[in-house]
Amino acid sequence: MVPLSWYVALSSVLFLIGLVGVLIRRNIVIVLLCIEIMLNAVNINFVAFSKYQHVIDAQIFVFFVITVAAAEVAIGLGIIIAIFRLRETINIDEFNILKF
């Protein structure tokens, strides 16, 4: 059986990839996808611990996360399209009007 630490390591790597993507990528669609990666990294953690500790609750929670992520993507993409129509760009650096 694959040890728990492997799952945690995988989850961490995925999470870091997602985080770095959120922080450094300019394309707002990629940023949204990276957020999804981070959510799924968390899901892996949930499932792994659920399996090893014989608790089913975490897996139920995962379903919730997946549902929320789906809704979020739907709304997020909608927003991105709206922004694109307005600003003719998906470069996140251009969206900095919310400041002093």
Binding site: L19, V22, L23, I24, V31, I92, D93, F95, N96, I97, L98, K99, F100
Partner: protein, 639 residues
């Protein structure tokens, strides 16, 4: 009860009607107030007639404060003293109301003026009718307020409101002492009711109080003396005695009717009335009586010397008022309360007459007040001349006019009051001579000699006699000035008043002086008049020579003994300087800097911090990630 209640309430009703609905009167305010005040006069005379042969009356209107052991009621007490004073106050008030109709004609504040003098009449009546110290104090303050608001009647003119403020503040100083006296009375006697206090006085005669315990003082003082002196401080302020007198001459900035009513006949005599009313307290303290007597005597002579050289017609009369008030206070100080009140009554008539006459002169010269720019007016205004002459004779103490009897009674009482009394008597006689001199100086300057007023100039018309509404009060008051003393003497008003007031040292009731004393005071008065005639009755250069020859004395008199300069330098200027210092240094320098410093620190740091808000989502996300990382690491390390 109602007829007595109506005495104060009728003027009050006049005040409410005219005061509330003044925009609708448009110069018709006197149709309400004059009849009401006249009615109030009728009821006062009736009250006087009732008490003439009857016992004092006492009505409790309602219990105002009832708290623990403290009881204060609003009551009316009509005894001989009150009834006599009420007649004088209502008479002068009614005549002044009438006079105002002519004097204040076409004034923009005509109806307002009537409302306030009616309010004043109400307050003064209630002051006289009060039966406890709290009620007395309330109306004591009320008359002070009316005085303030009426001095400032022409509030657009700076001298008016400055004088009004001075009068108000000066009276606050006095009233502070008065209030302390009331507090001490309550803490000693446990009540503020006159009769209860008087009954308890024998039990407290030997009580002492450590007056300066706050400063670790150890000397015990007689509690009666302290009470009497503190209450007297109030009288000093209200009755313009030294050293709180400077407000009275300056209050002449107000319209002349109120100078006659408030600052000659009624309000300023409230202090004397208070001493007479509380005479048992004063009798219990010989030391306090000495202070009272000397204050009065000094005031009398100092005011008389100042009046010698003044140029403003109203200020001359004002200083003579102050001087006569000094006489009354002196009379109270030697225990001759009856004589003091008798002089108060006669003085009320002839001084109101002099003021209203002066107002008539000013009115006819369209506001000119400098006696050096008058002269020869007797042929233009005969009624004013004759009545003012009568008033001046009364003031100078020439028989058989009113002032002679009352002033002589005070002087003879002083003379019979031991060796100290001789000095007081001497001061009184000298003052009487000075009084006659400056009074007739005024008469000669105004009514005889060359016409020194601007003939055609900016006045536009020749001097003229005042209308009937102004001369009628003059004539009626001059009747008081002629017969007031005779009547009082004949009907023994002093004996009548003494039913309510005990006489302290000497048991015998004050008699008129022997003829020698009488002759001396009349000669002093006559001498003053003769000198005035020599100096001012015909053209003479003696006054100028005297002014040059006795320059220091002349300057002292002209500058009012430098009291105003003294107060200016000792109180006003340091206060202003200190305030300026506190404003510029403490308030602006320390407090404002602290407050502004906090504000500008927040502003500057906020200005720096807002650079952190880049609007870049990824920056925020980075900070969030770092924060999370930091917190998790901290959590792990702490574990």
């Amino acid at each position: 009860m109602l007829p007595y209640l109506l005495i104060p309430l009728l003027p009050f009703a006049g005040f409410l009607l005219v005061g509330i609905f003044w925009p609708y009167f448009r110069g018709k305010g006197h149709w309400i107030t004059v009849p009401l005040v006249t009615l109030s006069w009728v009821f006062s005379v009736r009250a006087f007639m009732v008490t003439l042969n009857g016992p004092p009356l006492h009505f409790v209107l309602y219990n105002w404060i009832h708290s623990g052991h403290f009881d204060a009621s609003i009551s009316l007490m009509v005894d001989h003293l009150t009834a006599t004073m009420l007649v004088m106050v209502s008479t002068v008030s009614a005549l002044t109301h009438l006079y105002t109709v002519g004097y204040m004609k076409d004034d923009s504040g005509y109806d307002r003026f009537f409302a306030y003098i009616s309010l004043f009449t109400f307050s003064m009546d209630m002051l006289l009718l009060s039966d406890n110290l709290l009620e007395l104090f309330i109306f004591w303050e009320a008359v002070g307020f009316c005085s303030y608001i009426l001095i400032a009647h022409w509030y657009e003119r700076k001298p008016s409101w400055v004088a009004a403020n001075e009068a108000f503040i000066m009276n606050r100083v006095g009233d502070f002492g008065f209030l302390l006296g009331i507090f001490l009375t309550y803490s000693v006697f446990g009540t503020l009711d006159y009769q209860t206090i008087f009954r308890q006085i024998p039990a407290h005669l030997n009580d002492t109080i450590v007056a300066f315990s706050a400063f670790h003082g150890t000397t015990p003082y007689s509690v009666m003396t302290v009470i009497a002196l503190l209450l007297f401080v109030g009288a000093v302020g209200k009755s313009a005695q030294l050293p709180l007198h400077t407000w009275l001459p300056n209050a002449m900035e107000g319209p002349t009717p109120i100078s006659a009513l408030i600052h000659a006949a009624t309000m300023v005599t409230a202090g004397i009335f208070m001493i007479a009313r509380l005479s048992p307290i004063y009798n219990a303290s010989p030391a306090a009586l000495h202070v009272v007597a000397w204050t009065g005597a000094l005031t009398a002579i100092v005011a008389a010397t100042i009046a010698l050289t003044q140029r403003d017609i109203k200020k001359i009369v004002a200083y003579s008022t102050m001087s006569q008030l000094g006489y009354m206070v002196m009379a109270c100080g030697i225990g001759a309360y009856g004589a003091g009140i008798f002089h108060l009554l006669t003085h009320g008539f002839f001084k109101a007459l002099l003021f209203l006459g002066a107002g008539s002169v000013i009115h006819s010269l369209s506001g000119e007040q400098d006696v050096f720019r008058m002269g020869g007016l007797s042929k233009y205004m005969k009624i004013t001349f004759v009545t003012m002459l009568l008033g001046s004779l009364a003031l100078s103490g020439i028989p058989p006019f009113a002032g002679f009897y009352s002033k002589d009674l005070i002087l003879s009482n002083a003379f019979h009051d031991g060796s100290l009394g001789h000095i007081l008597w001497l001061i009184g006689v000298v003052t009487a001579g000075l009084t006659a001199f400056y009074t007739f100086r005024l008469v000669f300057m105004v009514f005889s000699g060359k016409e020194r007023f601007a003939q055609d100039g900016h006045h536009g018309h020749a001097p003229h006699e005042s209308p009937l509404v102004m001369t009628l009060p003059l004539v009626l008051l001059s009747l008081g000035a002629i017969f007031g003393g005779l009547i009082g003497e004949h009907y023994d008003v002093v004996g009548f008043l003494s039913q309510d007031m005990s006489i302290p040292h000497f048991a015998l009731r004050p008699e008129l002086s022997d003829s020698a004393l009488k002759i001396i005071s009349v000669v002093a008065g006559g001498l003053g008049i003769a000198l005035a005639y020599l100096f001012y009755g015909r053209s003479s250069n003696v006054p100028a020579m005297l002014a040059n020859g006795l320059r220091p004395l002349y300057l002292i008199s002209l500058n009012k003994w430098f009291f105003e300069e003294l107060y200016d330098n000792v109180f006003t200027r340091p206060t202003i300087f200190l305030s300026y210092l506190l404003w510029k240094e403490l308030d602006k320098g320390v407090i404002d800097m602290a407050v502004n410093g906090v504000a500008s620190f927040c502003q500057n740091s906020g200005g720096a911090m807002r650079r952190l808000q880049t609007g870049q989502l990824q920056n925020y996300a980075l900070v969030m990630a770092l924060g999370l990382f930091g917190m998790v690491s901290l959590f792990l390390f702490m574990k």
